[in-house]
Symmetry: C2
Subunit: 241 residues, 2 copies
DNA sequence: CGATTGCTTGAGGGCTTTCAAGACGTGTGG
DNA sequence: CCACACGTCTTGAAAGCCCTCAAGCAATCG
């Protein structure tokens, strides 16, 4: 975070892989698609907003006046059914965009899981900018392709039948997004209930699942939010079902 | 299909809802985002290709030299695990785009479920065109937002626990995409096995599920590929879980 | 018209879900 | 700083649903 501070302060950040260009500067890792000038340009129409832990950022159906670009913190995107059940679509963090809309209305809801700082971009201003600046658009296309792949992987996870497979795949995804390797511990900002809603299990099954993984020596739980993988071989095997 | 023929012959088609513009010419239905000139322009770099029923259109990991835009027919997009299990990501038909890639490699596989006709657009040419033409890009952004919403709805379906809920939601989605109302029958081009792979059930559970729905009088099966909803109330209730 | 593929239906087993009670942790107020 | 109270998590037992395996049946294709 601290190392990214100065970079992010330039303006909104869109980090992704180019859908079509083979090979890239960062050897397989998402990289910044916007130039410093473009980011500074976007910064002129953006404002910085903050949300407290647990605060609702926007609700499904509300007028989508704003597109958000996360600077720091973690956000969950979710659907809420009338019966109070909620299905979590994604967990987003720094450099992700949120505020997916259709015809000017948000198509899902968002809530801060930790204190969140973000750029708020007025959609209509942004839309006008985009229609004149192909580079900004291209970066958004790349990001959307990325989001689509993540969503497909999520669906792939949800199809799995065994709780341990779902959980290990979930941990894989979290580990992957926290690209800070050399840091052998995975941080889980969300609570058990959120994990359950994301992987499609009951709260109890998630709890039992972590317990079984720990008992087998596959993972180690420092506390409820910090996991370390202690048997990589078995871990990968479970994730591959 | 026949009615769309002449329109489509103009060139590639991108039909979607504008993410941010509230209200639209077609009152809530996806509409053509490209002008006739832009479509004709894209047609100059596109070629028309055909695939037989069951034919593989592209495979995961292969160089993504082509982006496809379906003219007619139905395609399934899927992941295949090493163990032969496959998870279906989406069913696509006329006016949809396929060929999602990352760094020049396809990130999933595609197969024709029916005979398919499509425009083939060379990705590198298209990429260059896009970086110069913001309107083409904007239409692709709108389409990607649409795809993302569909993917999220798919995930929402996959979380459901009961077979009947999954099946009725699936039928709802099919009914919705075949916007040809006044036509009280839903056409299912895919086989039971594909449905199973899409909704995350076993083949047997899908078969039993359709059987139970028919027995309850909720649906009526003319044959394996044609369903009619006979009890809308109960149908909606099941879909809402 | 025959053969292959896809679909239906059956029975048993396993895993997760539910429902519920108790342990843990955290945050607040005294 | 401690104690309490609330929310979160863990753990337990019974029940339900779907999965697996398998055999018989329909439908499609050559």
């Amino acid at each position: 975070m601290a190392t990214k501070g100065p970079l992010i302060s330039i303006g909104p950040s869109v980090r992704a892989l180019d859908p079509w260009l083979p090979g890239n500067p960062a050897r397989g890792k998402p990289y910044q698609l916007l130039s410093d000038e473009e980011r500074a340009h976007l910064a002129t129409i953006a404002s910085v907003v903050r949300f407290k832990k647990g605060e609702v950022i926007y609700s499904i159906g509300a007028p989508a006046k704003t597109l958000f670009n996360i600077i720091s913190g973690v956000v969950k995107i979710y659907f809420a059914t009338a019966e109070g059940q909620e299905s979590i679509v994604a967990f987003l963090s720094a450099e992700d965009m949120l505020g997916l809309a259709t015809e000017g209305k948000y198509t899902n809801s968002a809530r801060a899981l930790t204190p969140v700082t973000a750029y708020a971009l007025p959609t209509m201003t942004l839309r006008n900018k985009m229609l004149k600046n192909a580079f900004i658009e291209y970066s958004i296309i790349a990001k959307l392709c990325q989001d689509l792949r993540v969503a497909q992987r999520h669906a792939f996870l949800l199809v799995k039948k065994h709780a341990l497979t779902k959980l290990t795949m979930f941990l894989q995804m979290q580990e992957h997004v926290q690209a800070t390797e050399e840091h052998p511990e995975i941080y889980l900002p969300m609570d058990r209930s959120d994990i359950a809603d994301y992987v499609g299990l009951s709260l109890g099954a998630v709890s039992r699942g972590f317990g079984r993984l720990a008992a087998r020596g596959v993972i180690q739980l420092r506390d409820r939010h910090h996991v370390k993988i202690t048997d990589r071989k078995e871990f990968e095997k479970l994730a591959a079902e």
